[in-house]
């Protein structure tokens, strides 16, 4: 058997039972490697359940900086007998299967093409501890210790992290380090350490951080000035508001009175959550709510109201696998069409697509400027993978010269100085965006009635067809204006000239970029474009126009981004080849490479039918 040999480039998966405290031990593992200067990318693959079902934690380790999912598992740390049969099957040939051999492995599961290492985790734990919960918790720490020996992890770094993690609970430090040593010593004395797969200190982290996208979004909302937050708990968006609150408690308390410069209300449902956000925004505060697909479905009516009545509204959609309840703890990019065209009638909404925690932070903050500027809902589209997993990200930065853009709002003085009649829906500047007033601004000028029914330019109810059409056309003009405000796409040119293109967004980015590099090394050159916002601006159309074949890679079944490109751009749909991964797990670089390779012939020459420029 040819064992896999690798330094700093492998995938390890932990197979655990949820509710047993494995998450913090596994996190210890990933963070230790991060602190050894090596980029890591941990992903939780967890059930919609609190206790007792299989849960996995997959860590990609790669010192070239590829932090998307690669595909395949080189080392399996199997601690859950429930899932052991499937866990052993997916180990790459030449890989390692480390398991708790307190109960010996069913011979039928045995494989000759992998190395199987048994550690009596339960036995060691049972001998060492008397308390049942301790036995369970420390079993996890013991296998981390064993892996430290097997993979050549610096034990001091591991110990340092334990010290940091239990700051304030110092009593727990010594027992945790003891448990690590138990595992470490067992591996040292029973196996030939380290294995062919191992880690080695690098200097590749360079100020980066490990952060969950939801946490970055919550912080972004604090920085963006959100002061009214309404929400209804739903996986995987719940931690956005929890994190907002955590940061606000530190950063948003008035030092003099000790009172809060923010309000958070847990609503009775998603309808109410978005209703509060709309009401607060209408009244001049910055407000948001966060939800996932089922919540967006419920929020449709209010999104239509906010679009038509032109109330700035910020919504964070942390997507999960649908339809319906779908797979609530799995990731997908499948709410695009729902969000883009939410609600009845002719509606379309501005969308943002971050792909890293840093972008969640920045776009999260910027979404409030965008909503105020455009006076319409802005829906930031993230997903479970980005939101709930720690991502290797550039550090967060804030430019103190930033000033909030509150958009077009008349102040009391401006109203006072006005001699003409104020029209809430009067397009004074010709860009489709009209001037708002906040309630309570001026005693006699600037008040208007906001409604979801048709109105004239002075906000007066009307059923006049002409007035209705004027208003709908102006909203389209505003949509055109929005193209200048949404972030431009990021173009990643191939190293050689090509007529092939690839389009992707959000959490597909890291895997797509790795795939593109590998394909390049194999001689396949593809120009790439990452979409960052909707409506698509001119650069997106131009990219499509200048390529003959474009792979649109996305994590849903129906090619939703592809549908939107066809719907919104004047293009030939046949040019757009859908590459769709929708199994609920983050897309892998290997899968993208395979799909592209199988879609031969590649097209790196200017096609015959086209005129060749001389």
């Amino acid at each position: 058997m040819q064992q896999i040999k690798s330094v700093n480039d492998f995938v390890i998966r932990f197979a655990n039972t949820n509710g047993t405290g494995s998450a913090s031990a596994n996190n210890l593992f990933a963070k230790t490697i991060f602190r050894m200067g090596i980029p890591v990318s941990p992903k939780n693959i967890f059930p919609s359940n609190i206790q007792g079902l299989p849960t996995w934690y997959e860590v990609r380790i790669n010192d070239k900086g590829y932090v998307g999912r690669r595909g395949g598992v080189d080392i399996m740390m199997a601690v859950n007998p429930q899932s052991i049969a499937q866990d052993i099957k997916i180990v790459e040939p030449g890989g390692y299967f480390v398991y708790d051999n307190t109960k010996s492995l069913d011979m039928r599961l045995h494989r000759d093409d992998i190395t199987i290492l048994g550690i009596p985790l339960t036995d060691i734990s049972r001998r060492e501890y008397t308390d049942a919960r301790q036995r369970q918790l420390f079993k996890n720490v013991i296998y981390i210790g064993a892996l430290a020996a097997l993979l050549d992890i610096e034990f001091d770094v591991l110990k340092g992290l334990v010290h940091d993690q239990f700051k304030g609970k110092e009593k727990l430090i010594a027992p945790n380090i003891h448990a690590l040593e138990l595992g470490y010593q067992y591996a040292q004395s029973n196996f030939d350490c380290p294995l062919g797969i191992r880690v080695e200190r690098r200097n590749m982290v360079d100020g980066h951080i490990l952060m969950e996208g939801n946490s970055a979004l919550g912080l972004g909302a604090v920085y963006g000035g959100a002061s009214v937050v309404s929400w209804y708990p739903i996986t995987p968006s719940t931690s956005v508001v929890e994190q907002f609150e955590k940061f606000a408690k530190h950063l948003r308390v008035d030092p003099e009175s000790g009172k809060n410069n923010y309000a958070i209300v847990q609503a009775e449902d998603e309808l109410s959550a978005i209703g509060m956000a709309v009401g607060a925004s209408w009244n001049g505060a910055r407000s948001f709510t966060a939800t996932s697909g089922p919540g967006v479905s419920l929020m449709n009516e209010f999104l239509g109201l906010a679009y038509f009545a032109e109330v700035p509204t910020v919504l964070f959609d942390v997507q999960r696998a649908g339809p319906s309840t779908g797979m609530p703890t799995r990731s997908q990019q499948s709410d695009l069409l729902l969000a883009a065209y939410a609600s009845h009638g002719d509606t379309k909404h501005v969308l943002l697509f971050p792909s890293t925690p840093k972008e969640c932070f920045e776009m999260g903050a910027a979404s409030f400027d965008l909503a105020d500027r455009l006076q319409t809902p802005v829906i930031l589209m993230t997903d479970l993978d980005l939101g709930m997993n720690e991502h290797f990200s550039e550090p967060l930065e804030w430019d103190d010269a930033n000033v909030y853009d509150r958009g077009k709002v008349f102040s009391e003085a401006e109203l006072e100085a006005m001699s003409e009649r104020y029209g809430r829906y009067l397009d004074v500047d010709g860009d489709g965006i009209c001037y708002r007033t906040y309630p309570g601004t001026h005693p006699t000028k600037g008040s208007f009635f906001t409604r979801g029914s048709s109105r004239d330019e002075y906000a007066k109810y009307t059923e006049s067809s002409e007035e209705y059409v004027i208003n709908m056309k102006r909203l389209l003009l505003k949509w055109e204006t929005a193209k200048n405000y949404v972030p431009k796409p990021e173009i990643r040119p191939a190293s050689e000239s090509t007529r092939d293109g690839m389009i992707y967004f959000g959490t597909t980015t890291a895997s797509a970029e790795e795939a593109l590099d590998i394909l390049r090394d194999q001689g396949t050159h593809i120009n790439a474009l990452r979409v960052l916002g909707f409506p698509f601006n001119a650069d997106v159309e131009e990219f499509i126009d200048t390529h003959d074949r474009i792979f649109v890679v996305e994590q849903n079944r129906d090619g939703q981004l592809r549908s939107m490109l066809i719907n919104e751009c004047e293009i030939n749909p046949k040019k757009l080849k859908a590459l769709l991964c929708y199994d609920g797990l983050p897309v892998t670089a290997r899968w993208i490479i395979e799909e592209i390779t199988n879609s031969e012939p590649t097209n790196n020459v200017v096609p015959f039918s086209k005129e060749v420029e001389v």
Partner: protein
């Protein structure tokens, strides 16, 4: 309906403390049916705000969908208004109130809007004790869709469509009491002597003030077989007593009428006097209010007037400890932590 209203007003119209006449509190011309009870309620709101010398632009009017929800256009034309979506006025009002605690919030809803599609939001805005006046203009039917029974329609009551209602009615006052409302009253659109002081007291109350106003639908539910017709309500109405509202600014004279039995001082110092008809009613006791409502119902009567009041309650802002400054008036200096804390945050993520 009227489609033209002359601009002319009597030159000697009385003015209030702000120097405004009633005209400054009027809104657009109503488009409701002639004789609609809702228009009387709008008139009562206008009178109450005029009497209280409220600056009209310091009021925000919020409603859902339906005949009742149209009415905010017909009063306080210098106030901002928001005619939102069906049954969701409470959430919009909650968000608005959180954004600016300094405005007065008048929410207008109907029996369909609150007792059916918006039942959930109604229940939860009560629980949160949002500082607002919540008016339900209750006509027992769906007017805008031409007269279907609503959830407040009594068993056996039949409107113009002729089919008697089969299902238990929902009593929104009882429900509000159960859910912890801190001001609960019922009134009748045809009784402005009762309604105006109740609206004034409700606006002055610092917390959630609920008034269920029975407001007959002249077009679809004013039949001899309906229990929400003008005639039926007039014949079956009972009152907890006569309410007098004395705003804080007004000097309290000791000229109490005979039968005065209870005085309540509100948070802002204004005073309510209730000349009770029934000595057993205790305004500070939910159980007493519930019993009074049920006793009347058993007799086939409708109990109106002030039913319950807790003047010392904490509203939502107090419960969640928001700053005194309206949140929407905070700028970057209060809202944005700036680059400084980011170093520590980044460091904690390494």
């Amino acid at each position: 309906m009227t489609y033209h209203r002359p601009e002319f007003r009597h030159p000697d119209l009385p003015t209030n403390k702000l120097g405004y006449t009633r005209k400054q509190y009027e809104g657009a011309i109503s488009t409701l049916c002639a004789g609609c009870g809702h228009d009387s309620i709008s008139a009562a709101v206008i009178q109450a705000c005029f009497d209280l010398s409220i600056e009209p632009h310091k009021v925000a009017k919020i409603s859902g969908i339906g005949c009742s929800s149209k009415t905010p256009t017909y009063f306080l034309g210098n106030s901002h208004g928001f005619n939102s979506v069906h049954g969701r006025m409470p959430s919009v009002a909650t968000g608005a109130n959180l954004a600016n605690r300094d405005l007065i919030y008048i929410g207008v809803s109907g029996d369909g809007d609150s007792a059916s599609i918006g039942m959930g939001q109604f229940a939860h805005v009560v629980r949160r004790n949002l500082n607002m006046l919540y008016l339900v203009e209750n006509n027992g039917c769906y007017g805008l869709t031409k007269g279907q029974d609503s959830a407040t329609s009594d068993i056996g009551s039949a409107g113009k469509k002729g089919q008697p209602n089969l299902f238990e009615p929902i009593d929104l006052c009882t429900l509000a009491l159960e859910l912890g409302a801190t001001f609960v009253a019922r009134s009748f659109s045809g009784n402005k002597e009762q309604l105006i002081p109740l609206i004034k007291a409700a606006i002055s109350h610092s917390g959630f003030a609920f008034i269920d106003v029975i407001s007959p639908c002249v077009t679809f539910n004013n039949t001899s077989t309906s229990t929400k017709s003008y005639e039926f309500v007039r014949e079956h109405i009972e009152a907890t007593g006569k309410t007098d509202f004395i705003p804080v600014q007004q000097e309290i004279t000791a000229d109490y009428e005979e039968g005065f039995t209870e005085e309540v001082t509100l948070h802002d110092g204004s005073v309510i006097h209730l000349y009770k008809n029934d000595e057993s009613l205790d305004l500070h006791n939910r159980l007493s209010a519930l019993q009074a409502i049920h006793k009347c119902k058993e007799k086939g009567e409708i109990l109106t007037g002030l039913l319950y009041l807790d003047p010392d309650c904490e509203d939502l802002h107090e419960m969640i400890a928001t700053v005194e400054t309206p949140l929407r008036d905070l700028d970057e200096t209060a809202l944005c932590p700036g680059s400084n804390p980011l170093d520590a945050i980044n460091e904690s993520l390494r």
